[in-house]
């Protein structure tokens, strides 16, 4: 099963290497890892999507907590949460097909962010399902390049994943 973890860490150089190294060393499989500073500039937040059964997950969380620079680890999987990912897709677009692509992109509330002579870059945000759907839709036109940020996630409602949040 896949789990989405929110990990608050000290915003120090090297902290990403510690987390990534730990995950590799202990043989955990990660699907994605997204990281950036929070509104408190001394704290960064990582969203890690890991694959594994409950036992594996328990170890991932406990091992992460052992890192001195890891302040907090929360498993959002079982909680009500929003998760999003951003993708950029460079798709082949002969003039004849452009309007069709633009229409499809509209349906997904995605955007065209670059128009080249033979290509368009589509930017889309959404959960996993939406990203997969848009990829499927664009595939027949020819996807030349595909890049995604990895998932970020947040609890719904007033609860927060912060240093002093529950």
């Amino acid at each position: 099963m896949r789990h989405t973890l929110a990990v608050l860490v000290e915003n120090n150089p090297g902290v990403l290497a510690r987390v990534a190294g730990l995950i590799r060393r202990r043989g955990f499989n990660i699907d994605s890892l997204a990281v950036g500073p929070t509104n408190d500039p001394t704290i960064s937040r990582m969203t890690i999507v890991v694959e594994g059964d409950d036992l594996v997950l328990e170890q991932v969380i406990k091992q992460l907590r052992k890192l001195i620079e890891v302040i907090k680890v929360s498993d959002l999987t079982a909680e009500e949460h929003v998760d999003r990912e951003l993708v950029l897709i460079k798709v082949k677009a002969e003039p004849a097909q452009r309007s069709q692509i633009i229409q499809l992109v509209d349906v997904f509330r995605a955007h065209i962010v670059d128009v080249g002579r033979e290509t368009l870059i589509v930017e889309a945000t959404g959960d996993e399902e939406k990203i997969r759907a848009i990829e499927e839709i664009l595939r027949p036109f020819g996807i030349k390049e595909f890049v995604r940020t990895g998932k970020v996630a947040m609890l719904r409602g007033s609860r927060t994943t912060s240093v002093d949040g529950e």
């Binding site: 860490v9 000290e10 150089p13 090297g14 290497a17 510690r18 190294g21 730990l22 060393r25 036992l55 328990e58 170890q59 406990k62 091992q63 907590r65 052992k66 890192l67 001195i68 620079e69 890891v70 302040i71 907090k72 240093v163």
Partner: protein, 556 residues
């Protein structure tokens, strides 16, 4: 007061009560050495940085205080690596301080540059690259705090040469504040109560005790628990000394080379009280077959150890000493009435399957170790070992009655640990007898430290069980590789002459009658003494659980 980085570091060490540093200088760490020159800290120059790391480790294991070692950048730092990994595997608090090239030179493959914080990431509890001299005093304090609290472990501080040389106003930093680090202390009272209930219900309890008992100083509480519930106690290699080896409830060591009665007791127990242990494969053998009928209580300070290898019925996360104190109190509410049937069964096993070896006229290493025990048991003694057969025989035939008296590389199994660790122990315990029991293979991995012992008049005694083989490996070849002794036979130097060349005393013993007088002579001497015991060449450590088998399927 304006101070240079190197001076700040040394000042902090003084303020933290560091009495000794084991180290080896070089260019990048010169500013620190320059400050050490005037300090109220003893410096022991080992002859190899690995020796410095193991000496700091031996010092820490013997005294319970953090050990400090120091090395220059590049090769100096990488030479510490085995020692750091060793301390990490056995949860020993050491502080490793390394010089680093100047900040502007980092990342350019500069002369003697090594990314030591990167290299030691997986083998330190935490490490630091000091980027700003203003952070240094805080970092040093944090490092000691992290190394010595919670589950102890090594911490490395990498100090670029220019940071060590630059000046700043020294202000004593406030208390350590680490928001991501809150080691547990007390156990959860509900868990403790549940554990007490399981104990009260048990008919065939066994205590399985490890290094956590020694680390938290819980030996008295452990003894009180064992006596209260009349449970026999088997220790891991790291737990040796955490429960008196000569106590009637002692089962000695369990696992691969444990006593049969220890393994049988564990396998037939209905309750395993695991205290400060991690269910290592050398202990459990075939994991699914381990203690099949037992409910398990696991007490440990490291939550990540709970459920890592085995499922447990009750987990109590906390400092072992405090948890045992809580548990003892809780047990007062129960009328713990230990059945005598279990005691009798264990007594029968002990009688039927004692630890023994064949006396056939050859000089047997077990006999040497028994004589070392006989001559030292009534005086304060620390015994360090190297790794191999001699280590297991020491664990089997020397009964350690005090915590921190057995100093051995458990998790990493590092040959070459013994002598430098003994040196560290001797520095920490100057009034005690320190004996290093070694093999003819292991001793040669750090034999240069004999010079350190002579240099600083540290009267360690080195007893080499010289069997002309890498004995433990030969044993595996004999048992599992058709006696094909691929590259395990040793051509050795003359150890007596070697000892003398270093300025130590050297003795050789080839017959059993010479053992006692030679040891008496060595233990009387105020100098370092090496004794070359030329022992039976193909003696095996028995009993033995073949790898991957359940622990009651023992050979021998």
């Amino acid at each position: 007061m304006e101070l240079k980085g190197g001076e700040i570091l040394v000042k902090c060490l003084e303020e933290l009560g560091v009495e000794v540093v084991f180290g080896y200088p070089g260019g990048a760490i010169l500013p620190v050495y320059d400050a050490l020159y005037d300090a109220d800290i003893r410096h022991i120059l080992t002859r190899h940085e690995q020796g410095a790391a193991h000496a700091a480790d031996g010092y820490a294991r013997a005294t319970g205080r953090p050990g400090v070692c120091m090395a220059t950048s590049g090769p100096g730092a990488t030479n510490l690596v085995t020692g750091i990994a060793n301390a990490y595997m056995d949860s020993v608090p050491i502080i490793a301080i390394t010089g680093q090239v100047a900040r502007t030179m980092i990342g350019r493959d500069s002369f003697q540059e090594a990314d030591i914080t990167g290299i030691t990431l997986p083998i330190t509890k935490h490490n630091y690259l000091v980027q700003d001299v203003n952070d240094l005093a805080r970092i040093v304090r944090e490092a000691f705090h992290v190394a010595t609290t919670g589950r102890p472990g090594p911490v490395l501080i990498d100090l670029p040469r220019d940071v060590a040389a630059s000046k700043t106003e020294y202000r004593e930093p406030g208390p350590v504040k680490l928001r991501g680090y809150r080691p547990p202390a007390e156990g959860n009272p509900e868990d403790v109560a549940r554990a007490a209930r399981l104990i009260a219900e048990a008919q065939r309890p066994v205590i399985y005790a490890g290094g956590g008992v020694v680390n938290s100083g819980a030996h008295e509480e452990l003894r009180a628990l064992a006596e209260k519930i009349m449970a026999p106690v088997a220790t891991t290699l790291m737990g040796i000394g955490g429960f008196p080896g000569d106590h009637p409830l002692s089962l000695g060591m369990l696992g691969m080379h444990g006593a049969k009665y220890a393994n049988y007791a564990v396998m037939e127990s209905d309750l395993l009280i695991a205290v400060g242990v991690r269910f290592d494969d050398r202990v459990t053998g075939k994991l699914d077959a381990f203690a099949p009928e037992a409910r398990v209580i696991h007490i440990d300070i490291d939550p990540a150890e709970i459920g890592k290898n085995v499922r447990v019925n009750v987990a109590i996360v906390g400092d072992v000493k405090r948890v045992l104190t809580q548990l003892l109190k809780c047990l007062d509410e129960y009328l713990v009435r230990p059945g005598t049937a279990w005691q009798e069964k264990i007594a029968t096993w002990k009688k039927e399957y004692p630890l023994t070896y064949r006396r056939d006229g050859q000089l047997k290493p077990q006999a040497v170790i028994q004589e070392i025990y006989r001559q030292t048991k009534d005086r304060p003694t620390r015994v360090a070992t190297d790794v191999g057969q001699h280590q297991m025989w020491t664990a089997q035939y020397y009964f350690f009655s005090r915590p921190r008296s057995f100093i051995s590389s458990g998790g990493l199994g590092t040959m070459g640990f013994g002598l430098p660790a003994a040196i560290g122990a001797q520095v920490g315990c100057p009034d005690e007898l320190v004996v290093s029991i070694s093999g003819d293979g292991s001793i040669q991995m750090n034999i240069q430290e004999l010079c350190t012992a002579v240099n600083y008049e540290l009267p360690v005694k080195v007893a080499i069980m010289n069997n002309g083989f890498l004995g433990m490996v030969r044993q595996w070849q004999e048992l599992f590789y058709n006696r094909r002794y691929a590259y395990t036979e040793l051509i050795n130097p003359d150890f007596v002459k070697l000892a003398e060349a270093y300025g130590a005393e050297g003795l050789r013993v080839t017959r059993e009658v010479e053992v006692a007088p030679a040891l008496e002579q060595a233990f009387r001497s105020s100098r370092p003494v090496l004794i070359d015991f030329v022992v039976a060449r193909e003696e095996n450590v028995l009993p033995m659980v073949p790898p991957g088998e359940p622990i009651d399927k023992m050979l021998g």
